[in-house]
């Protein structure tokens, strides 16, 4: 029975770890953290394996665990950043419109409030149906609809401002740091 569980978990890991890491990447915008968050979420998934297998939608359950883990990471990161900013002028963060000539999608996403970001990412990047997003995030379908539409509008506006017009939108997504 142990071996079965182990095998099933390994198969689950193989199949979904990249998906989960990508979700973490889009939610946090941080490649290193994404791997870390995915690993943490997968440990949680292993610990509560029965819940995963008895879930109607194991991947949905896993995404919920991941979203929670990512939220915790963002909270910690925000606290640290606020601490830093307080001791420094904020001008580094806010450098006028000329700097991000190409504001990549990832950076634009980071400007969305977390709920909107989660909804937009799950709906648009991962094609998760509204009802499932609601289950993953533990909010109502109505809330998902509203967060998604506001988030999508905001993101579109940000990208347009940054030059992602119909013509420029096909530029490869650049890694900036």
């Amino acid at each position: 029975m142990r071996a079965d569980r182990e095998g099933a978990y390994q198969a689950f890991f193989e199949q979904y770890h990249a998906d989960l890491a990508r979700l973490a990447y889009l939610i946090t915008g941080d490649a290193d953290a994404a791997a870390d968050i995915a690993a943490d979420a997968l440990v949680e998934i292993w610990r509560h394996w029965r819940r995963v297998t008895s879930a109607d939608n194991p991947l949905g359950y896993a995404r919920g665990v991941l979203a929670n883990t990512a939220r915790g990471w963002l909270r910690r990161e925000r606290r640290e950043r606020l601490g830093l900013l307080r001791s420094r002028l904020t001008t580094d963060e806010y450098r006028g419109p000329d700097v991000p000539a190409v504001l990549d999608v990832r950076a634009a996403l980071r400007q969305l409030p977390l709920r909107r970001r989660e909804c937009v990412v799950l709906r648009y990047a991962f094609d998760v149906p509204e009802k499932e997003v609601a289950a993953i995030l533990g909010i109502s379908v109505g809330a998902v609809k509203s967060h998604t539409s506001r988030g999508a509008d905001q993101l579109a506006t940000l990208l347009r401002k940054a030059g992602h017009t119909a013509d420029f939108g096909l530029l490869p997504v650049l890694e900036r740091r």
């Binding site: 071996a3 770890h17 990249a18 890491a21 997968l42 610990r47 999608v105 993101l155 990208l159």
Partner: protein, 254 residues
């Protein structure tokens, strides 16, 4: 969905695909944390359970105090656990879940696979007190690409020990951590990598002694799938009063 929705969908998917997760790193991190979580989850029964499991599986070595036991092994020669070979032959497949060994209350000083008394020249006089009893198992938290080899030592009297776990350097083998239930302040840990092995050495500081009890020394490592413990060994040097003993053994899968 509007045109702008399609654009967003495209951009977001592209952003997701642009990120290529480091699968090996995620697997390694997850495995290390799993082991830590497993330890936390069963923190109390752990010590007892490990000791019992070790005995149930075999591979137990009892190092005796007497120097003039029959067939004294040449200096440094391996004292092989008698049960090791037989229990490994059905390697891997059909891992017979070891029957509850807890039935015998103090099994550690008796070799479970020992033939009935008197059937063979006894290796050791029965009255001799033991110095330490050691065993090596592959921890149950181990997975296809990550393993914890655990040496358990039961000391009957204050004892100095030095434990070396030798992990055969199979494909992709890499250190992933270690721990012991001996207070770290009493101990020096050394990591050494050779061409064909990863060595984990836990040495009690001069003057430090294990108090009577059971202790665990764990060596963790990640590796390519399909690995077995057959190339891994451990060595225990023990000293109590002016008695010295060295024993070696294999790790038995659970």
């Amino acid at each position: 969905m509007s045109h702008s929705d399609d654009r967003l969908r495209f951009e977001l998917r592209q952003a997701a695909d642009a990120y290529e997760p480091d699968s090996a790193m995620i697997a390694r991190r997850a495995a290390t944390r799993r082991a830590a979580a497993a330890r936390r989850d069963r923190i109390r029964p752990a010590a007892v359970a490990l000791a019992v499991v070790a005995v149930a599986v075999g591979g137990v070595i009892t190092v005796r105090l007497d120097q003039d036991s029959p067939e004294p092994p040449p200096p440094g020669a391996a004292v092989r656990p008698p049960a090791a070979a037989p229990s490994r032959t059905p390697a891997g497949k059909a891992p017979k879940p070891s029957p509850p060994a807890a039935t015998s209350p103090d099994p550690v000083t008796e070799d479970p696979d020992r033939p009935p008394a008197g059937s063979k020249a006894p290796k050791k006089p029965p009255a001799t007190p033991s110095l330490v009893t050691v065993s090596g198992i592959v921890d149950q938290a181990s997975v296809a690409t990550w393993t914890q080899n655990t040496v358990t030592i039961k000391a009957d009297k204050p004892t100095w020990v030095s434990v070396t776990v030798r992990v055969e350097r199979t494909r992709d083998a890499a250190r992933a951590g270690w721990f012991t239930t001996v207070p770290n302040s009493d101990l020096t840990f050394t990591a050494k990598d050779t061409a064909d092995a990863l060595l984990y050495t836990y040495t009690l500081k001069e003057g430090a002694r294990l108090r009577p009890g059971t202790y665990v020394f764990a060596a963790q490592f990640s590796h390519g799938a399909g690995r077995g413990p057959s190339g891994d060994t451990f060595t225990v040097d023990a000293r109590s009063g002016n008695a010295d003993a060295t024993s070696r053994g294999d790790f038995i899968g659970t």
